[in-house]
Every structure is written in C-alpha cells, then in structure tokens.
Symmetry: C2
Subunit: 612 residues, 2 copies
C-alpha cells in the first residue's frame, strides 16, 4: 500500500549508474539558476518602499537613489562572483570556498547560515508566490497558509522524483516572468509617452522631506538588499555548464545580473511615478500591474501568474542547493550521515524532506506573513557572501599569480559591501535579525558535537594494528531459549537452538496471578522435551524483562568462564497481517531491546509465521 503510493508519487527506482551528468546550455542555465535572483524583484523593491512610507508618502522618491546604490552593489557582487567562477570551476559554494581559505569554523558559519537560509528562501518565495495569487484572487486570501504549504509539498515531490525530469519544465516560468515584466515595462513606457498614465508621485524627486534621516535611509536600503539574494547560484553550478564551462557560467551570471538590474530599477521607477503605496493585501508589483495594464484584465492576470510561478521555481532553487550542501557537510562529518543517502531517484531524499519540513514550519509559525523574515534571510545570505568574498582575497594572496592584486581588490569591494550590509541589517533591523545570534552558535555547537561523535566512533571501531591474535576461538556456545508457553513456536526454537548450541537452556518467567497454573508451563515443557534443561523464574512484579536479564547475566558469566559464547533465542510468531500485531503482546520486542544492552550476549529471533 505504502510502497504503491510511494511508487506513484516518486517514480520507479533508478540505478546508481543511471546518473548522467546534466549539461546546461546558457539558455537553460539562465532559467534554472536565475529564478531565485530575478524573482526577488517581486518582494525586494516593496521592502524599500515599505520602510520609506513609515515616515511619509512624500519620502518615497528616496527609493530611486537607494535603487541606484543597490545596483552598484549588484555590479560589485557580480564581478566578485565571476572571479569565484574562474577560481573554483568545480563549484564554489560558500561552504567550500570558506572552508578552504578560512578554515573549518569559517566554513561552518557559512554552511550553517546557508542551511537556515535555504529554508528561509523556500518559505519566503512560496509565501510571496502565494501573495501574487491572493493579490489577483482576493477570495483566496484566507487560504494563504494552506496554499503555501501545498506549493512546498508539490516542489518537494518534484524533487524526490529527481530534477532531470523537471528541469526542462522549469525554464517556462522563468522566461514567462521575464517576458511579462518586459511587456509591462514597454506597455508602461508607451502609456506614459501617450499620456494614458499620468504622473502620480506624492512628491517630486528631490523634494525635501521633514524627518528624513541617514538612519532611515540605511534602514530602507538594507531592507532592499534582499533583492541581491540568489546571485551566488551560478557560481555553485559551474560543473553543470557546457564547455567552456567557466566562460559560459560567467556570461550567464552577467546576463542574469543585467536582467535583475533592469527589472529592479523599472519596478522602483514605476512605483514612484505611479505613486504606489504598499498595502498588506495587494503587492506593489501587483498594484503596478493593475495600473499599467488598466485594471484586472488578461495582462494583469498573466503577470500575477508568472510571478507566482517564478517564485515557486525560486523555492525550487533551495531544493537544489540544500541537499547538496547537507551532503557536503555530512561527508565532512558535520551533519548526520543520513544526508548522504540517496533515494530511489538518486536525489538526497533526507535533505529534500528536511528542507520542506523546515520551510513548512516557518510558514506555519509566521502564518504565511513572512515579510518579517526577509531581514533575517538577507543576513543569512550576506554572511556567507562576506565569508566567501574575503576567502577569495586569501585565495589570491596565496596564489599570487598574474593580476592577483586587481582580483583581490574586486573581491575586497565585494566583501566590504556584504559586510556593511550585514552591519546595516544588524543595526537597523535588529528586531528581526536577533535570532541569527542564537541560531548560529547552536548550529556551530551541533556541528562540532556531531563531528566529535563520528571521530570517536571511528576510532573505537577501527581494527587495531595487526596483532598476533586476530580471532578468538570459543570452546562452545550456550543458548538460552525464552519460553512463554509450549507451542509449535517453542518446538521450532528448541530445534534450532540445538543446532547451534552445545548447551541449551529453556527459561520461563511465571507470575503469581494464577496460583493453580503455576507449574503448568513447566510440566508441559518437561513432558515434551525431557532432555532440555528448563528453568522457571518467578516474578512478583509482572515484569518479564528484569528477571530475564538477571538470569541471562548469570548464565553469560558462567559461559564466559567456560569460554562459551552466549545466545538468547527469542521465539515469536508473525501474524499473517501486520495489523494483527496490535492483538499480541510485544514482549519479544521489549525483550530484544533490553537484551541488546548487553555486550557479551547475542540476541537471536526465531520467527514462526502464521498462515491464517
């Protein structure tokens, strides 16, 4: 039943060798890797305006200089990442770059930030996608949370099925969104030129605004920096590009940044020109769409649909990146090995499922109102940015070849910008960013704890240097058969015990409850198997485990003295249907658990299968 369901949802298992290398053309790569970055224009500009409007609608013209600075940052970060592409063509995730150059702890901070960040990516993108849907169809507003959760689950199943199947499909939403925004910009420009759309800004560019301060400027600017998230995606995926990999990746990154820059400035401009005021229920992008396409027509609905779709694909980026990062960290023994297991379809299922669970928990906690998560999300992005950019400076300095000083400078600018963004976020958005200061130390502690555990285990399990006596020869084996009552199960167990044991003892635990039947089992047993030793243990507390353990310990000690091994044989019967298990006492399970606590005892299970 469960297997069948799994087969339908996940698909049939793939062989390990079936894994082909995915090779991406620039066109496809742009679609697959840029969704996270480009889709952030759906919420980034809104963050800027939302901060400014807390002062007054008059202050909204400041969004234009802020946008200009964001674009400068984008340029710097793009250049820095192009350098990473060339330096780490085998994929330069922040975790790897930081580990290689900053050492273990630098890598762990970057890795930990990103793990949390991918959960935030999924949560923020899905809820923003849901907002695009509910802005178009307000009746769905009250179902925001279930819609977001369903989207996450759908993406999770797609990923459990394996990406190769879904990759082609993913290019559609990205290009759809790009085209829709282009159309919107053109229609908007034409409408402005023809006078169909009139200037509505609450205050002209440059109007002095009472109360405007540098602090507020930084606050708005750092909030808007969330638009820069996702730029790193290309640098992680260099190995997947067509040859020449580095050049193609670098070009793709440039194209992506250009598109992002254009969209960002366009949305900021229209927002200002049309005098759009942020609103909890209708997104800024959706308001711009309404005005440009003239009400709720086809253009508007297509825009909303494309926004929702690209945001869903952006959430998918998290699903590509998280399991690989978790795999790398598990390989370095900082996360449970379970993250290295491959599922039926070759995906790292545990990573995929953990990510989905984390994102759903975030959505449920914040009731789908994740905008307060955006500053935290930005910190989680810019900390690894800072670490990997600064790591590159170390990298260049170590190599000291060619243009290393120039390259270092570019990375230095990138690192500096990222660092100042982190500082700005901590300064101006501390109320949303503080959890980072708690989560990070906990994660680091956990990574180290896990690591030291694996190291210890490895040391204890390692076979010592070739010593003289490799194997120990026992002189024989003692087998204790636990007998509940005398049935066919008992007979099979005794037969088997005699085949492996040199000395077989049957043991039974009796209770006070039925005084008449006290020796019933003993008598039955002795009648059936007169030549097997039978020990009847009396329990006053209706516990089977404790007296069994006590008896077994005594026998094991004696066996050891005689150089015998000790086996405890637990007979059980398996009913025909699994549900019938609840009708039977799970004594054998409990006994096995308890007996496994003994080092010198092997626990064996004899299963008798019922056929009716």
């Amino acid at each position: 039943m469960w297997r069948y369901l799994k087969r339908v949802l996940i698909g049939k298992p793939l062989k390990t060798l079936d894994e082909g290398k995915t090779h991406l053309s620039k066109f496809k790569a742009l679609a697959m890797l840029s969704s996270d970055a480009i889709s952030s224009v759906a919420y980034g500009p809104e963050q800027i305006v939302t901060v400014l409007v807390t002062l007054s609608a008059m202050a909204m013209w400041y969004s234009i200089p802020i946008a200009a600075i964001v674009l400068v940052l984008l340029l710097a970060i793009t250049l820095s990442y192009q350098q990473i592409i060339h330096a780490y063509p085998s994929g330069g995730g922040a975790y790897i770059v930081a580990t290689k150059n900053w050492g273990k702890n630098g890598g762990l901070i970057a890795g930990g930030s990103l793990l949390v960040d991918y959960m935030l990516t999924v949560a923020v993108s899905t809820t923003s996608g849901t907002e695009a849907i509910t802005s178009a169809i307000p009746a769905l507003y009250k179902y925001s949370v279930p819609i977001s959760v369903i989207i996450v689950l759908l993406i999770m199943f797609m990923n459990l099925r394996g990406m190769s199947e879904s990759a082609n499909f993913l290019t559609v939403p990205v290009y759809f969104f790009v085209i829709m925004i282009f159309i919107m910009v053109i229609v908007g420009a034409v409408n402005i030129a023809t006078g169909h759309i009139t200037y509505h800004a609450p205050a002209d560019y440059g109007t002095p605004v009472v109360g405007m301060s540098f602090v507020l400027f930084v606050r708005a600017f750092s909030a808007g920096s969330s638009s820069l998230t996702g730029v790193e995606a290309v640098s992680n995926a260099v190995p997947n590009f067509n040859e020449p990999k580095e050049k193609n990746a670098s070009t793709t990154l440039a194209i992506m940044s250009a598109i992002l820059a254009f969209f960002f400035i366009a949305i900021i401009f229209f927002g200002f020109y049309l005098g759009i005021v942020p609103n909890a229920k209708v997104t800024v992008l959706s308001q711009i769409g309404t005005r440009i396409f003239g009400g709720h027509g086809l253009g508007f609905y297509l825009l909303q649909l494309s926004t929702a779709m690209i945001l869903a694909v952006a959430a998918n980026t998290g699903f590509s990146a998280f399991p690989i990062l978790a795999y790398n960290m598990a390989k370095d023994k900082f996360l449970p090995h379970a993250f290295m297991d491959r599922g039926d379809r070759l995906g790292y299922s545990n990573g995929i499922i953990s990510l989905a669970v984390g994102a759903i928990v975030l959505i449920l906690i914040f009731h789908g109102q994740t905008s307060m998560l955006i500053p935290l999300y930005a910190v989680g992005v810019f900390v690894p940015f800072t670490l990997s950019q600064s790591a590159m400076i170390i990298h260049w300095f170590r190599e000291r070849e060619g243009w290393w000083i120039g390259k270092s400078c570019i990375n230095f600018v990138g690192a500096l910008i990222s660092l100042s963004l982190v500082a700005a976020l901590f300064w101006q958005h501390f109320e949303n960013v503080w959890p980072y200061l708690i989560i990070m130390p906990c994660l680091l502690w956990m990574f180290h704890k896990i690591h030291s555990h694996y190291i210890k285990v490895g040391k204890q399990l390692r076979v010592a240097e070739k010593t003289a006596v490799q194997l120990h020869d026992y002189d024989g084996s003692t087998v204790i058969v636990l007998v509940g009552n005398v049935t066919r199960v008992t007979r099979g167990a005794i037969n088997y015990a005699r085949s492996i044991g040199d000395y077989v003892i049957a043991m039974h635990v009796s209770f006070d409850e039925n005084p008449g039947k006290e020796h019933k089992t003993a008598n039955e047993f002795k009648a059936e198997y007169p030549d097997v030793r039978f020990v009847d243990i009396h329990s006053s507390y209706r516990s089977i485990a404790t007296p069994t353990l006590r008896f077994v310990d005594v026998i094991a000690k004696r066996a050891e003295a005689r150089n015998y091994s000790t086996t405890v044989l637990v007979p059980q019967f398996i009913p025909k249907h699994p549900w019938q298990l609840i009708l039977h006492n799970q004594t054998s399970l409990r006994l096995r658990t308890v007996l496994n606590s003994r080092q010198n005892i092997v626990v064996a299970t004899y299963s008798y299968h019922l056929h009716e």
Copy 2:
C-alpha cells in the same frame, strides 16, 4: 528520565500478591458507587427544561409530570437491579448477564454499548463539571476545553496510581455534594416559607400551552432519562461489599435511588417555582443556587465547587468500570490481550489510558459542548439495561424456583421501560443518536474479527497430538555474517559466528558509487580473515535489503538441503547515548525487519557497545 517521571506520577511498582480485596462499608460504597447516578441531577433536569423551552417558557410546568414519570422508572429500575444483585452476587455487569442468558451476541452488544458509554460518561461528566466551574467563574469560560482535558488527565493518573490510594479521598466530594444540595433545599424551603423567594413560574401548573404535543412530551421525557444513568454501578460491585454482601449492596442501591429521586424532584421543583430558563453559559443548577443563596456568596460557590467535584468523581466511575469490562472482553478474546496487562500499580493500564484518550477526543471534537452527546449516552445506557433486564427474565425462567414469576415480572417492567426509552430516544433524538447505528455494527464486526483471529492463532500454535518425532535434529548450522565494513564489530561478530556455526559466510553489499573503492572492503576482509568465505554482492539500486534477502534465500535453501539450520548475524554498534542513534544509518534495523519475513531463517544481532 522517562522512568523517573513515571515513578513520580504513577508510584513504585506493586507486587501481584500485594493486591488486597477492597471491602466496602455501606457508607463508603455509597460514596464510591453513587457519584455517577447522583451527579446526573446536575445535567438531567436541565435536559428536560431545555426541550420544553423550545416551545415556550409557558410549557415549563410540564417538567413536573415528566419528573414524576422519571421517578416511577427509577423505582422500577432499582427493583430490577436489586434482583440482579441477588442473582449474580459475583458481579452482574450487563456484559456478563447478557452473555450468560442471551448468548455471545447479546453480550457483545451490551459490552460494546458500555465501552462507548464509559467514554461518554467521562466526557459528559467532565464537561458538566467544567460548566459548574465556568458558571461560577465566567472568566474561565473560554478555557473550558483545556480545563476538561486536564481533569480527565488528572483522573487518569489517579487511576494509574491505583484506586486503593484514592478511594477514601473519593468519599469527600460525594458527601459534600449531598450535603450542599440538602442545605440548598432547606434554605430554599425556608426562603419560600418566609417569603424571601417569591413565585416566578412563567405559567401555573396546568395552564394549557398552545402547541404542546405528546411528541414534545416524549422528547423532553427521554432527554431527562439521562438522570437514570449510573444506577447499575452498585450491581457490578457486589463482591467488594462487606458481608452480608448482597444485603448490603441491595440496601446501598435503595439509599442511592432515594437520594437521587429526592434531588431530582427538588431541582425540578425549584426550577419551576423560580422560573429558571436554561442558558448556554450558566447551568440551571447554578441559577437555582444563585437565587436561593441570594447572589454569588459563599453558599453559591460551595455549591458550584461540590458540583464540579462530584462530576469529576462520576467521571472516575468510568475509569473503574471500563478497564474491568475491557479485561473481561479481552479474556473472552473479543478485545486485544493488551487490556489484560496489569500496570506497575496493578491497574489495567491500557484500559485506563484508552478510556482517557477516547474521552479527550470526544471533548475536543465537541469543543466541550457535549450536551448533544447526552441522548447518545442515554441510548448507550438503556440498551445494556434492556439486555440485562430481559436476560434476567430468561435467568428466572431457567431456574424456575420460588417467586420466579414475580421476579420475572419486575425485570419485565424494567426491560420494558428501558426498551421504550431506547425507542423514544431513537424516535425523538435521532439527530443525535444515529451514530449508535454505525458504531455498534463496526464494534461487533471488530469483536468477531479479533475473536476469530485469536482462535485461529491458538489453533496454529497448538502442539499437535503427541507424535513420534517431536524434535528435529539438524546436522549443523550455517551462519551468514553481514559485513558493512571491516571494524572491531566485524571481528566480534565473526568470532561469535564461528562459535555457533559449522559453516560461516561473510556477505557484503557494494554499490557503484565509489568505483575506486569497489573491492576495498573485500580486500580488507580477506587480509584480516583469510579463512572465512567472503561474498561480495553488487547492488545497482543502492538497496541493501533486497540483494541480501536474495542471497540469504539461496544459502538457506542449500543449508536446508544439507539439513543445516540458517542464521543471519547482523552486527551493529550501540552508541553511548541513545540520541546518537540518529547519526547512524539504521541499516541493521531495516535488515532485521526484512529478514524476519523468512520462516526458515533465524536473525541474530551482535551488539558492540561504544564507551565514548
């Protein structure tokens, strides 16, 4: 940790022989057995008035003739049950009486009804108790559901600790309530006599009411019959009385019915005289208390407290009766044997916990507004009443001694009344009673299913008639050791395997993943244990279980041909702390589960314990 918590909540385990027989004096028995019946005056009268007021407040005088009829019923049922006490002095629960006289299915219908009913008892009593609290302290109204759930959990823990400890304590609330109602009646009577309380009935007794019909009368009357629930409790507990058991039990039942009758009519009378109109937030009893004690003074709060307390004790009645009924039905193989297990404190823990879970689910589903459950509850009571009373007629007819005809007549009246109440409830309260028609067939089907399973299992396990060959002699044993990698665990496992096996094979499953390391394990193993046969199985699907099973099946077949037994030894290491288990793949667990599906294979576990 868990053990410590359990010890604190439940207490230290008791020996089976520690169980003393509880012997109840009449005074104590009245307290322990009557809480369910007497406490039903807290909601029974209210049900009558609630139905009448749907027509008009004028109709409320009809509550007096209805109450008179209810009292006649009470008399008849009391007489019938006194006969059951004498006929089944060893405890005449409806399940036993109906099974003995009506046969298996009659007993099962009675038993099934009661199982559900005890859950309803607990749910209805607890929520009514909570209503008494929230009527006194309206600020708590919004916390009704959590309060009810906490009360159920408290009673559950009390019962898991064992009743002997709590029995004395239970007499207090019952006598407290009895005294408070007596005081209320006396104060009320004095106030009426002195003219402090004036006549407020919306219409005099006998005023013709437009629209009053026989149907409505039956509806109100059948709703009020819920006050008769709980009368059977004494007849179930005869063995617990002091000698002469039957006489004492019979007297206790008479006293209980007298108190119930007096309280019932008193509350109906005051309700009518004071013109109390039912209200969702304040119970009728609480309104009467307010009027008689003159507002929210000490008297009023004591009344509410005593009501809440007796209702909690009434819920406890369910906890005494359900586990014993479940035990009896499990002994007859109609319920899982788990209901026969005794906990640390000699209570039937599984029954106690199941009841609490069932009641809590009901409370949560109905959001603590369980008044709609009362008709269902009444059906669940009167069906077993009918069955046990009619069973008594069969009983007398079989015995045909002494006054058997007279006795039959009394039980006949009892049966007839109960049956007509069932009919009335189905006729007038079908909207609340229909689930009975679904639940009952399902329960009966389940009982039969469980029964036939146990019978089949018993047949399959029974050792056949003494046959010639009791034991089978194997010529030797094959042991397959599953090897993941070559560690100390492997060495211990191989040592052990050689002590029990005549032929030892090591088996390893290798994947494609690391082409370089393909033969790593094989080479390491052969270097360490050159004289043990090593088989390397290749898996393309990253599954260990399937290829292992396939290989083991082949070996088992060969072993069988040679008359060898087959053991699969699964080595595992046990980390020092249980939480560390999540850091390791649970392959051994999965393998054992899969291998247990084979009849002819014994699965043994070698545990290597880590100490760091």
